[in-house]
Amino acid sequence: MIITKKRDFKALLENIADYKSFFLVGCSECASLCGTGGEPELAALKIALEAEGKTVTGTMLPKTGCQTLGTKIELKKDKDACAAADAIIVMSCGAGTQSAVEIFPDKPVFPSNDTLFLGNMTRFQMFDERCSLCGECILDKTGGICPVTACPKGLLNGPCGGTNEGKCEVSPDIECAWVRIYNRMKKTNRLEDFKKTLSPKNWSASRKPATLNTRGEKEEVKK
């Protein structure tokens, strides 16, 4: 899921200083799980904005904010409330915010969140970054632990000289990804794979912006 963090309310207020009335859009997927764009957060932002003398014309929680077409259809029932607003505030990730930009071509759209990373939820509202969407997965070669993401240097061939008692040189709070990979490969009898030298990563596979079309027979990522 996409991990988001609530923006400082003051910063949001500065962004929307020129506008009076707002329609608020959340997201029932990731942003709800992150506690940044679900039902309670929509209600809380409404109250906070009204306390600042702003008007909230309506709020709405789409099923999946980044699903542009679906969100557009869901928003039909709120047509009037949307029309009455000077601007839209989106409480989701940057993708959801840009769905709204597409749905509301004539209105300013503001994000209420910062979008951080693709994360695993390890416990309720605790998230770890495990994959950085590099476009060509090497988990098969690294014992199922991703060094592109878990090693701050993204090294592919073993630990740097800075690893210390299994901890990372960059921060003693994190485990050295390569020590973890080593331990796991040892446990699963895959040290022969550890010894293989990996080639430099093909970064063209993660070049931005990507598009993907999986309709019909054709399946291709365009760069």
Binding site: L155, T163, G166, V179, K186, P200, K201, W203
Partner: protein, 293 residues
């Protein structure tokens, strides 16, 4: 004599380290380099060491060449992508630089530009492969070069890293990738180092033991606590303490000289790499006490 010839001749080789200045005033570092002239076999030029921005290592290597030194160009993967690295390597080659030490490089987090975007497009093992390719007249994509490089390739290893196995596996990858010589992270326990050497000796590479000058008991304790892969044994810390504040540096010089003597007399490794860290002017004295001058 080139570093390659010196190591191949079986001579006990001594290298030391100079760090380019932060700024254009290079009087001090030129003076320190001058002091080492004719004494050490080669001089490492660090590459934005500890991720602190300084003069480029290629430029400073060129100055050393003009002064008649044998420079070792340190090249880290932190600040340049694969295009930049290859381009700088070709540039170093036409300037006459022959030795390159391939390293990953400390994370920007450690340095004075913490907000920098780290590159690490490739890493030390892959950089060694790339240098081997440039030596063979090809860039890393297999494109023919108009004129090959002729680098003597070095790398680093941390013999006291814990756990050691993944470190040693990487050491072997570096050898397979083309490393000719290694300079180690600082070692203080010669017996432990002997264990590493008895393993390393099965490979056709030259090993220079890394030695960092201890300037006080406090520094030794600090290194034990904060520098990964370095363990200063208690007896050395006691020795520094016993020397008292005034004489601590002197004791540190003694310790290093003693270690050099032992490494050389017992033919434990192929040479030493002296890291004086701010006391470069003491290197001749260390060498003298070690019986090398």
């Amino acid at each position: 004599m080139s570093l390659r010839d010196a190591l191949n001749s079986g001579k006990f080789v001594v290298t030391a380290e100079v760090g380019p200045a932060k700024g254009t005033d290079i009087k001090k570092i030129l003076h320190e380099s001058e002091l080492l002239k004719g004494k050490v076999d080669a001089l490492n030029v660090t590459d934005n060491q500890s991720a602190v921005m300084r003069i480029s290592s290629v430029s400073f290597c060129k100055l050393l060449l003009e002064m008649g030194h044998e420079p070792i160009l340190q090249m880290t993967c932190r600040d340049r992508n694969r295009i930049g690295l290859q381009s700088d390597l070709l540039g170093a080659s036409i300037l006459g630089i022959k030795n390159v030490l391939c390293m990953t490089g400390d994370h920007p987090n450690a340095g004075d530009h913490k907000e920098a975007k780290p590159v690490y497009d490739i890493e030390s093992v892959q950089l060694l492969q790339i240098v081997a390719g440039l030596n063979a007249g090809k860039d890393m994509m297999g494109n023919e070069l108009k004129g090959a490089t002729d680098f003597y390739q070095g790398a680093v290893v941390t013999p006291e890293s814990n756990p050691i196995e993944p470190q040693l596996m990487k050491f072997e990858k570096k050898i397979a990738a083309g490393a000719n010589f290694f300079q180690t992270q600082a070692i203080y326990d010669i017996d432990k180092f002997k264990d590493f050497m008895s393993y390393a000796r099965q490979f056709p590479v030259k090993i220079l033991a890394g030695l960092v000058l201890l300037k006080s008991a406090g520094m030794a304790n600090f290194m034990n606590k904060f520098v990964p892969g370095i363990t200063v044994p208690q007896n050395l810390i006691d020795e520094l303490k016993a020397a008292g504040k005034e004489k601590a540096l002197d004791a540190g010089i003694d310790i290093m000289a003693r270690h050099i003597r032992q490494l050389k007399d017992e033919k434990i490794c192929d040479g030493v790499h002296i890291m004086a860290i701010g006391a470069e002017d003491k290197v001749p004295e260390i060498m003298e006490r070690a019986g090398l001058l």
